[in-house]
Amino acid sequence: MAISLDEVRHVAKLARLDLQESEVMSLQTELNALLGHFSDIQALSLHDLEPILHASNLVNVWSDDFVAPSLRRESALKNAPVSKAGLFLVPMIIED
């Protein structure tokens, strides 16, 4: 199993990373090296073994429905690179 340069570019797009061509190349090499190791588990016969999501055995952890204080708006916006009139601002959204 190997990943092509186009696949690397496609994955970068999914991950929303604007990679330089040199990075695309080096990541292809790294990903392929790792994919080589992934064959370890490809070969196993696992049949219907139930996968686990995480180590805890908890179920049904829920909160009651009550209202707790929110952040003050200044706090919410404090770290925003650009904000105005109580809104987080983003540039024009151009679909590709």
Partner: protein
């Protein structure tokens, strides 16, 4: 010297008024100011704030309302959210981010009167095993400053090993507390998954991450973990009422203790000198009456591969929020989508990008079953095999790392070699098991860590055993050559 004391010793001296809280905090601030240039443990220090906390702590001490950590400074890995103190995860993408909230562990520490002495360096987003992927600085091993302290909790480990904090908090996703503890000869403890709230820990791989302490002694590790653990209503994976007692810490007996040594823990990459030191340590334990049985856990060699699917997959999703809209710097670009892609490309370092790419690929259409699902199946199998071992044995023992601290830059040529460093530590994250690393010998003049792993919720038994084992190696214990 104040700064060479353990947390327990400091707490005692604070209570007997032999020391004052401001005096202790000042001593650490001074030491950091004079020594950290050499070690690169800290990313941020807020001395004023620390002194204010120390003054508060002193009031408690004077009022007789002090607890075990009142007035004790704690260094915090910089992937743990601290209200009002920059929290960067050692990444450019969070440069300047000042959280409006405290992580649960920080809240618990401050309720206990502990002093936040500073934020420590790490591999960017905790992704690495040498603290070399930090976007901001290198951290250096106090035993030999040309070498890595290990990672990703390198800064927190160095802070303790070089006496810049008596104890610190790290996080452990595949060994990030235990590996640097091994490399720097200190104690590193990862509690059972869910015992310590992750609320406020910037997620790397949510199903594996766990916060834990780095300390000079098992007792200190137990004291701090007692403060930071316990049920948290803001973390759905938090275990209810998990507080355990450390009053019985010293009750552990080596006589008749049954340890299992999985033979697979010596992988292909194990340094023969590490193996020798480990064997020597195991022999010493046998002499103390510990029964050590070699067993086989066949899935151990699959751990690294499994980890390198699960952790990046979760990370690729966890890091989706860094888009330069609500926090962090924003890059220039043509329209929002381009701006986000450039912000992320500029903000994340190479290792983080690589893991996002692996994870995105592993979750993408057509590959999910082959990678992520299979990895979770292997994880289930591995967990089962360890659970079986814990039915027969008290604990599982192994080296913590296959090697000792290596020279800075040495591993960057071979990323896969670096990934193998977590070979012995990954299983504890996979199964959510508690695990601890202790200094148990030397190889090439550098510390070698011994790892003890217990069953889920077996933290108390594990700490008791670790306390007893620590005693065995006490006489040969060394400290790094620090001023």
């Amino acid at each position: 010297m104040i700064t060479s004391l353990t947390a327990a010793e400091i707490a005692t001296k604070l209570r007997t008024k032999e020391l004052s809280a401001p005096e202790v905090t000042q001593a650490y601030l001074d030491r950091i100011a004079s020594e950290d240039e050499k070690y690169g443990a800290f990313l941020a220090i807020d001395g004023e704030r620390a002194m204010a906390q120390a003054n508060e702590a002193q009031k408690q001490l004077d009022a007789g309302t002090a607890t075990a950590l009142t007035g004790v400074p704690v260094a915090i890995k910089d992937n743990i959210s601290t209200e009002g103190i920059e929290t960067t995860c050692a990444s450019k993408i969070l440069k300047g981010y000042i959280p409006p909230y405290d992580a649960t562990v920080i809240r618990k520490l401050s309720e206990a009167g502990a002093i936040t002495i500073g934020k420590t360096n790490l591999d960017e987003f905790a992704m690495g095993s040498s603290t070399e992927t930090s976007a901001f600085k290198l951290s250096r091993n106090p035993w030999d400053t040309s070498r890595t302290p290990g990672g990703s909790s390198g800064g927190s480990t160095v802070a303790v090993a070089a006496n810049m904090a008596p104890v610190s908090l790290g996080s452990d996703t595949g060994g990030s507390i235990r590996l640097p503890a091994s490399f720097c000869g200190v104690v590193g403890f990862k509690p059972t998954y869910g015992r310590c709230s992750r609320f406020g820990l910037v997620a790397f791989a949510s199903s594996l991450d766990q916060i834990g302490p780095l300390a000079k002694t098992v007792e200190d590790a137990a004291i701090i973990s007692n403060v930071i653990t316990g049920h948290c209503s803001q973390d759905s994976t938090s275990i209810p009422d998990s507080q355990i007692s450390i009053s019985d810490l010293k009750k552990g007996s080596l006589k008749g203790m049954k340890l299992a040594f999985p033979k697979e823990m010596y992988g292909d990459g194990t340094d023969p000198a590490v193996r020798e030191a480990t064997e020597f340590a195991l022999d010493e334990l046998r002499r103390e009456g510990v029964e050590i049985t070699e067993i086989s856990i066949p899935t151990i060699p699959l751990g690294v591969t499994t980890y390198y699917i699960i952790a990046p997959a979760e990370a690729s999703s966890n890091l989706g929020r860094f888009d330069g809209v609500r926090y962090g710097p924003r890059s220039e670009g043509q329209g929002h989508i381009d701006v986000v892609a450039k912000t992320r490309a500029d903000g994340f370092g190479h290792e983080v990008k690589a893991r996002i790419m692996i994870g995105t690929y592993a979750l993408s259409a057509g590959y999910y079953d082959a990678f992520y699902l299979r990895a979770q199946q292997v994880r289930a199998m591995m967990t089962q095999q360890f659970n079986d071992a814990f039915k027969e044995f008290d604990l599982v023992v192994s080296p913590t790392a296959p090697v000792v601290a290596f020279p800075l830059g040495a591993m960057s040529q071979d990323p896969m070699q670096l990934k193998l460093l977590d070979y012995c530590t990954i299983p504890a994250n996979m199964g959510g098991f508690p695990a601890i690393s202790l200094q148990a010998g030397f190889a090439h003049g550098l510390p070698v860590g011994l790892q003890l792993m217990g069953p889920q919720m077996g933290d108390e038994k594990l700490l008791q055993a670790a306390f007893a084992v620590e005693r065995v190696f006490e006489t040969q214990r060394k400290s790094p050559p620090i001023p």
